[in-house]
Every structure is written in C-alpha cells, then in structure tokens.
C-alpha cells in the first residue's frame, strides 16, 4: 500500500467517524487487471476498500449529483447527505463546474485533493505491448508489468501508456479541496498544448470530413461517453428527446454526427479534458480530438479555461463587448 492510499483511508475513517461526512466516494480495485471501480464507503470499517493508484481513471464527479437527489417516492423529510470525495485535478474541476451549475452543494461536500501524475490508459497498454488479453498486471514505480492471457510477461513505462488527457494535463492538483493528501505532484511537463488539434486543423476540409466519417462510423450509440461525463447530468438528453426530435435512433452517419456535435458543443466552455468519455468508449473513438478543439477555441478566443474557480463564470455564460467577431459575414 502506498502512502497516499494509507493516509486517504485514515482520513476517510476519521471523517466518517466524526460525522463530517455520511458517505465517501472513492476508487476500489476491480476484478480485471488495470481497472478500478467507483466505491461508496459509508462506514469506517469499509475504508480498506479504498485504493489510490495509477489506474484511478474514473472522474468521480460524475457520481455526485445522484447522491444529492431526493429519493423518488420518499414522503418523509429528507436532508441531503454530506459527501466526501477524492479528487484529482480534473475531478476537482468537474466538481467546481457542478457546484457552479448548482448540481451539487458546496457546503455538503468534503473534497480530499490528491496530486496526480497521470493515469494509465489500459487500452494503450494492450496496444503498446501487443497483448490481446490481460491475465494480470502490476503497477510498480514508474512501470507496468503485465502478463497476457497467453502467459507472456511484459513491462512498459507508465509514461508511454498515460491517458492522452493526462499527458497534457496542466492542473495536476485539486483546484478546490477541504484537505489534500500526499505530496504535491511534479510540475506539469512542458508539452505543446492542443498539439493534436493544431495538427488536425492543418488538414484539408475533405481530409477532416473523412477522418470524422471513419471515427464516428464506429459509434454504437451506447452513450457511454455521455454517461461517464460529469457535465452530462440532464434528465433528458437532446439525443433522446422526442419533441422536438433532434436526431434518429440509428447509427446512420448523419445521426451520429448530430449526436456527437451536440454532445461536444454542450461541453463548450465546460469541458475539463478529464478523458472520461474517451476511457468509457467501448469503440475507442477519439472524442478528445473533438472536445479539445472547442477547449482550444475557448482559450484562444475568450481566454478562458473551464471550471478553475468557483467565482469565474464559464465561457458561454459570459461575454465581453469586445469579443472576437471576425468570423462574421460582412457585406
């Protein structure tokens, strides 16, 4: 057990014991190698379920709004619970966004910030090592050791299998927390921001279209990207609305485009590039290339990044008189 994990468990046990929180949302080991699962701890006795490692990929903010919803059909008086959560930089930004959008109450939330050096993308591990199925995997220090279902053992540097979002992450510490655990992370690497978007923008219109045709024809409309996203908390998504009906329930390319354009655009000025949608996609679609385009534009045009503080309004909830309008058509 690492130091952070140990401290985290102790702190959570304390918080549950003294009644500061009723439930703690963290990560626990999952049955498959290189996987974790969200974990809801309600008693100090259960804190040993909590883990902290390089595969705590889920953005736990996604799980928070449901905890503050009044149980359906409950007649009795109900007080929302006091909820603790462990937050990487990205989780914390999503939490900030949810607080600003009034989906979760700040005063009933206890955030334990943990510095993050980046999470492993399990698909990258398989791909990099050419392993079809993982029988076992172990993370030690800066490398991952895996055993394939064929019994072969291989090792790779974590740096080579980090999730794409993590490679470019500039906010490795929680931007909002009640407590931080562990040491401050090493400073963010000097990487060119939005390199993927910049490169993609240089392609011709035809090439870009063809790329998205290829990418989006993989989509099976399972909505894993949406469900894993902390920003997608709508009771009824535009994709499923029937009046008006925005798009058909098919994998006809046109419908898939409308869905993904709509989904990405609803994240405009709100996306924190946590990578949850990419990690969730069972078809390995590079949705980040879409999301990051908007993030790049938001940063360049409006000098804004989503959810860095509780005070600043999100980019599309604000404006400046002198905002760029060079894109507009003049006679």
């Amino acid at each position: 057990m690492n130091q952070v994990e140990e401290t985290l468990r102790q702190e959570v046990a304390k918080l549950l014991e003294d009644g500061t929180i009723d439930v703690f949302v963290g990560h626990e080991a999952a049955s498959l190698p290189l996987r974790t699962s969200p974990c809801f701890v309600r008693s100090p006795k259960e804190v040993d379920r909590l883990v902290w490692n390089r595969i705590c990929t889920s953005n736990l903010a996604t799980y928070l709004p449901q905890l503050f919803k009044r149980p359906v059909g409950l007649k009795a008086e109900w007080t929302p619970p006091k909820v603790g959560v462990v937050a990487k930089g990205c989780d914390s930004r999503s939490i900030v966004g949810l607080i600003k959008e009034k989906q979760i109450p700040r005063d009933r939330l206890f955030i334990i910030g943990v510095g993050c050096e980046g999470m492993i993308d399990r698909h990258s591990v398989g791909r990099a090592l050419g392993v079809v199925g993982l029988a076992d995997a172990k993370v030690d220090g800066n490398s991952v050791q895996v055993i394939g279902t064929d019994g072969e053992e291989k090792r790779i540097d974590i740096a080579d299998v980090l999730a794409a979002s993590c490679r470019e992450c500039q906010h490795r510490e929680a931007v909002l927390s009640n407590l931080t655990v562990g040491e401050a992370p090493s400073s963010a690497p000097e990487v060119s921001h939005y390199a993927n978007v910049g490169e993609f923008e240089t392609k011709s219109s035809q090439e870009r279209w063809e790329h998205w045709v290829g990418e989006l024809s993989r989509c099976i409309r399972c909505y894993a990207c949406r469900q894993a996203c902390p920003n997608c908390y709508c009771e009824e998504c535009f994709a499923e609305e029937t009046a008006p009906k925005w798009l058909g329930v098919t994998t006809d390319l046109s419908d898939v485009f409308v869905f993904h354009l709509g989904r990405a655009f609803h994240q405009a000025g709100r996306c924190v590039d946590c990578g949850a949608c990419v990690a969730a996609c069972p078809q390995g679609i590079d949705l980040r290339l879409l999301n990051q385009k908007i993030n790049k534009d938001v940063e360049e045009l409006f000098e804004a990044q989503a959810s860095l503080s509780l005070e600043e309004a999100q980019a599309l909830s604000s404006f400046r008189m002198e905002d760029d309008q060079s894109f507009m058509t003049e006679p």
């Binding site: 219109s205 390319l253 405009a268 000025g269 879409l290 404006f319 309008q325 058509t329």
Partner: protein, 153 residues
C-alpha cells in the same frame, strides 16, 4: 427526391437552399424592410423568425444541415442593440465556437454564416444574403451530414 439530388449533384439548375434564422427585432425587420423597399434579393432563402439570436440553439443549425440545407445564415441585432440587452453577445460566443467546430469536422465553412443586421438595414440584409448565396454556391450542393432515406424512393 433522387431526381432532385441528381440535379443538384450535376449542378444543372441547382440553386442553393439557405435557411436563415433571423431575430425578431432587428434582422427579421431588416429583411422585411428590404422587401418593402423593393430591394431585390435572391429567393433561395427560407426565413425562420426567432425572438433573439440568443434563442438560437446551435442544434438548430446542425439540424438544418442534416435536413439538407446547403447553407445557414443566422442574423441578429448589432452588439449593444439587443432587445434583451445581451442575448446577441452570448450568441456571438456560441456562434464563434460553432462555426469553428463545424469547419473542423469537415463542413465547408462557406455554408455557415453569422451577421448583424438592424431593422433599418434592408440594403445590408440583401447584400449579406447575396454574399452568403455566392459563398454557398462556390462549394456547390451540400453533401456531407445530410440524412437520406435510401429505401424511400
């Protein structure tokens, strides 16, 4: 339908179809003024009146393209003139991002246009519309993202 598409594809007799979302207070009145003033503007446009450019859900534009519009024009009040004070300024941010995003996924930028037209600017409306139509014409009939029913003759 197929015939129509074929005609469009071959470019013979093809005329761009433009959907224009115009705000009630300025641009719609501007378009109206153009008509009343007998300023000639091309008949390729289907106007949808909306209360404010801020009302325009980006999905309207995406949906118009899916439904087969060759081009889309969105027009509202000039900055500072919004009937609802700042609807157009919020809208401007949305449109800046949407235009860029559509271009990014391979929708020709010549198809999607935003403009400011006041109630007094009938001539400006006609000019902008002419420009939009020229721009759409330059890239030909829309082909990408249109929903087609193959099995429906």
């Amino acid at each position: 339908m197929t015939k129509e598409i074929n005609e469009k594809m071959s470019g013979n007799g093809w005329e761009p179809r433009i959907v224009a979302f115009l705000c009630n207070w300025c641009s719609y009145a501007g378009a109206d003024l153009a008509g009343v003033s007998r300023i000639q503007y091309p008949p390729n446009v289907r106007v949808i009146r909306v209360p404010c450019s801020g009302r325009i859900n980006p999905l309207f534009i995406v949906k118009a393209l899916q439904a087969g519009a060759d081009g889309v024009l969105v027009s509202g009040c000039h900055p500072g003139d919004c009937h609802y004070i700042s609807g157009n300024l919020y809208a401007r941010r949305k449109f800046a991002l949407l235009k860029s995003l559509l271009e990014y996924v391979g929708i020709e930028p010549q198809r999607v246009h935003f403009s400011w037209v006041s109630a007094a600017e009938g001539a400006r409306f006609a000019e902008i519309l002419g420009k939009v139509i020229d721009s759409v014409r330059s890239v030909g009939p829309a082909n990408r993202m249109i929903k087609r029913f193959k099995e429906v003759a």
